[in-house]
């Protein structure tokens, strides 16, 4: 799967080898082994029952919805679906783990194999996925603001997780972040997870080692636990790469250990060493029979699979003629992609002929990639509805296409529309923003500018063609920016050259 060695980026002459483990919470209605609600943000210990509290006498009952979502994720990433998979118990003592063990799939995971295509400056690569399996989340220990004691919130205990383990196929922080972004998008698109990183529904462990290029053995691996934003993943990796190179170049050894990333210092720090590593004493969960997945279950998930980001980008390029790089950006946010497509549909139905459709496409694409993307990044997906919904934005761009509004006017109006919570066309009306397109009006303006500047006219006609911009600018200025620049161009050209 991986590309040849010479393509891999090097860091101070070292090659970086990274495998990522992602824990993503599944969008099930209820928890993995009981019927408590699976949702974020409820008051502590209100989404709990004897099962997820680990009371004596309780037994886990597997939530089939979680299995279905797991299968869907597996299909999206091209995994092999195990016809029979197993659940095991993983033991350790911690107050957020009610039973003293976590039920997880160990010996035979639900999904194996699979891959994800990434694209970085270094090019396009497939990152292979080792396995995906179901397991239950733990609760949360709360230490803040409580002197001399800790409290435990078990709302999260038993929430279904899909753990997605990549092969050690990743060779730079950029690749790692691109892989994570695409994986998150895939999970969101397939409605497997909301991928909400602030709420912890998409969490990442980094396994990182370094070695000399060309080496076929791995260096000593360090695991960095629970890094919960793309930026922190990048920072943690950059720090850790340097730390490991520094250590080895100073003649020291990298220790096999688990480390934590501290966002405030930007550093990783040792959490536990190999000697302190826990013995999880995995053994088959006797309360859960073998998980048998039927073909019909797989088929129904295959049918439920929506268009995936990769396919969507391909379609934008092939069917709509969008540039590859633009298509990649458009599909990266699902809501934005829908916004884009809906607009395209409207332009398709209103455009007369292929040329005018292409013109509309280019305007619409560039409007989305500059204005709309900026506003969604700044304010969130809310700007995609309400007064600046697709319908209203398309109406605005239509004015540009018909020449009654300049593109820069349109951008300005769009920004104000969001600010003032009014529709763009209402604003256009209100402020009398109309592009000056009338031939006579424009001709009068052009003639005024030419007669005001006889010297420049003579110079232009004498061969100083770059003065053309000066004339356009003067006309625009005289019109207070309302003149249609294209028409001004045409009229100027006719007047000056005629």
């Amino acid at each position: 799967m991986s590309t040849s060695i010479h393509k891999r980026p090097l860091f101070r002459g070292w090659e970086v080898v990274v495998g990522l483990e992602v824990h993503t919470q599944l969008l099930t209605r209820t928890k993995l082994f009981c019927r408590c609600d699976n949702r974020f943000g409820a008051p502590p210990n209100t989404l709990v029952c004897p099962v997820c509290l680990g009371h004596p006498g309780t037994l886990p009952v597997l939530n089939e919805e979680a299995v279905r979502l797991g299968i869907r994720a597996g299909l999206a990433a091209g995994c092999r679906i195990s016809p029979v998979s197993t659940f095991e118990r993983k033991h350790y003592f911690y107050p957020d783990l009610p039973k003293g063990y976590q039920i997880s799939q160990y010996a035979q995971p639900l999904l194996t194999g699979g891959s994800l295509k990434i694209r970085t400056d270094a090019g396009e690569r497939e990152i292979s996925i080792h396995r995906m399996h179901l397991e239950e989340d733990a609760g949360k220990n709360l230490h803040a603001g409580i002197p001399d004691s800790s409290h435990v919130d078990l709302n999260r205990a038993g929430v279904p997780l899909l753990e997605i383990v990549s092969d050690p196929d990743i060779h730079s922080p950029d690749e790692a972040v691109d892989y994570l972004k695409r994986l998150r998008l895939l999970l969101r698109t397939t409605r497997v997870s909301d991928g909400n990183m602030e709420e912890g529904s998409f969490r990442c462990d980094i396994n990182l080692s370094i070695r000399k290029p060309g080496s076929t053995v791995f260096g000593t691996r360090v695991e960095i636990k629970n890094v919960n934003s793309f930026r922190f993943v990048h920072k943690a990796m950059v720090f850790e790469i340097d730390r490991q190179i520094d250590a080895i170049e100073a003649g020291e050894k990298v220790l096999l250990e688990t480390r934590l990333f501290d966002p405030s210092s930007g550093r990783t720090k040792a959490m536990r060493s190999k000697e302190e590593a826990l013995d999880y004493r995995y053994f088959p969960e006797p309360d859960i029979p073998l998980l048998v997945v039927s073909d019909s279950m797989i088929d129904s998930q295959r049918r439920a699979l929506p268009e995936l980001p990769e396919q969507r980008a391909d379609r934008y390029c092939a069917a709509l003629g969008v540039q590859r790089a633009d298509a990649e950006v458009l599909v990266a946010e699902e809501e934005l992609a829908h916004y884009f497509e809906e607009g395209m549909e409207r332009f398709r139905s209103t455009s007369k002929g292929e040329e005018s459709f292409k013109k509309a496409r280019d305007r619409w694409t560039s409007f989305i990639l500059s204005e709309v993307l900026r506003e969604t990044n700044r304010r969130g997906a809310d700007v995609l509805s309400g007064p600046t919904s697709v319908e209203h934005a398309v109406g605005l761009i239509d004015r540009v296409l018909s020449g009654s509004l300049s593109f820069s006017q349109a951008k300005e109006v769009y920004a104000r529309a969001i600010e003032e919570k009014k529709t763009p066309l209402d604003l256009v009306e209100e402020s009398g923003l109309v592009q000056m397109s009338g031939e006579d009006e424009l001709l009068a303006l052009v003639e005024a500018v030419l007669s005001d500047n006889p010297g420049e006219v003579a110079a232009y006609r004498g061969g100083k063609e770059r003065l053309f911009g000066f004339f356009v600018g003067s006309v625009m200025k005289k019109s207070n920016g309302k003149a249609n620049p294209e028409k001004v161009n045409d009229i100027l050209k006719a007047k000056l050259n005629g």
């Binding site: 006498g57 009610p98 800790s150």
Partner: protein, 499 residues
Amino acid sequence: MSNPFFSSLAEFAKGRDSRKFTIEEVARYFMSRTEQLNPSLNVCLSLNENAINRARQLDARLARNGADSPFFGYPIMIKDNLEMEGFPTTCASKILEGYISRRTATSVARLLSLGAIVLGKTNLDEFAMGSSTENSAFGPSKNPWNPTRVPGGSSGGSAAAVAAGLAPLSLGSDTGGSIRQPAAFCGVLGIKPTYGRISRSGLVAFSSSLDQIGPFSGSASDALEALVAMGGRDSLDMTTTERDPGEMRRDFAATRMEETQIGIPEVLFGEGLDPSIRKRLLELREALGGKGAREVPVTLPHSAYGINVYYLVATSEASSNLSRFDGVRYGFRVKNPADLRTMYEETRDAGFGDEVKRRILLGTFALSAGYQEAFYRKARKVQSLIRKDFMEAFQHCDAILTPTSPTPPFAFGEKTGDPLSMYLSDVYTITANLAGLPALSVPVGLDGQGLPVGAHLIGPPWSEGRLLKLAEFISALYPMPLPEVHAGHPTVKGPGDRG
């Protein structure tokens, strides 16, 4: 076993429906008998103060609508590792101090929904680990046949309750013989059904892949009805069967002794078996032959490793199942621990008894990295060979007969200093759990010292109905006398002296 009102579940239903007695009278009789005898027998850990109220309500319902189940108004006791909402569940352990159950075990709930009355919760070895009830944090129960002897375990309280006539039926749990061995020791019938027959939801787990719930009763037909009532699929336990529990009734009705092939593993009647028990069992074999049963020699070569396998598999699962008792969410917690680790260590050290700790240590070891292959995994492999032996044997026979226990009820303290000899109490019963098979113990009279002897029948999966019919035949051959404790209840009112 006997009481002044009825001698079987069916007779109870008849007497109840013909208004020969009221449900309240029956409940009062068993409650007062329990209050009277429990201080010496130590059979019950808690009594249901609401039992008489419930009986009265059931009488009122009976008067209005009649009863649609023989269990309507039937008094029972349950082992104190079975949950009942609003009642303490102690598992005879200090670590569950103050714990009140939030739910009712499915097995119990199904009997309650038919109208059964739970009188109380019975004593056991802590977390069902033991063969004598001597591991109870609340002291051992006494054998009603001889108060110097143990009632067996771990369900000793439930067995003794039925033997002493404190309830006509009780529930226990059986992981390696914990129903059958005390049934033999107390001279009552006890059956462990096929794994998956009865939901384990609400049973505090000892070894999840081996645990099953089953009844103690005076007769096979009562046990049959209890199994039918409790059995079948439960949405709270993924290991329960889809099979219709009613099949047991049909098999019971269809079984004839004359057509039965009894498998005899001859080696189990040899060395290590108490001579007076052997004598009783040989008599039984002869008697069965006389009734037309045929003996078939069977060999179960891997059963020799039963104890070894059991004490690896069961302890491994126990070490895991008991992890949840950590002092964090419920039950006992040491006061003012220095830190988290100390809280865990001191809570579990003070909360668990010695035998439980021994098994947690053993199981933790058997599952540990570097040892799991040699111990837990190897044990699981041998377990599958034990199961295979049985399945092959059942190609040639309908049920396998063995003694239930190698010894008669032993004296208190006799085996507490030597865990291994205690573990050997279960040598005949353990393999049925390892193979997931149904098995029962039925009384076959008394030994030379006047202590009960049990015969043990193991059947193929889902053959409870047939096993119970065979037990009924056997019971007819051995009318059991009453233990002496029955003589000592002159103050208890019978049906003749209603006031």
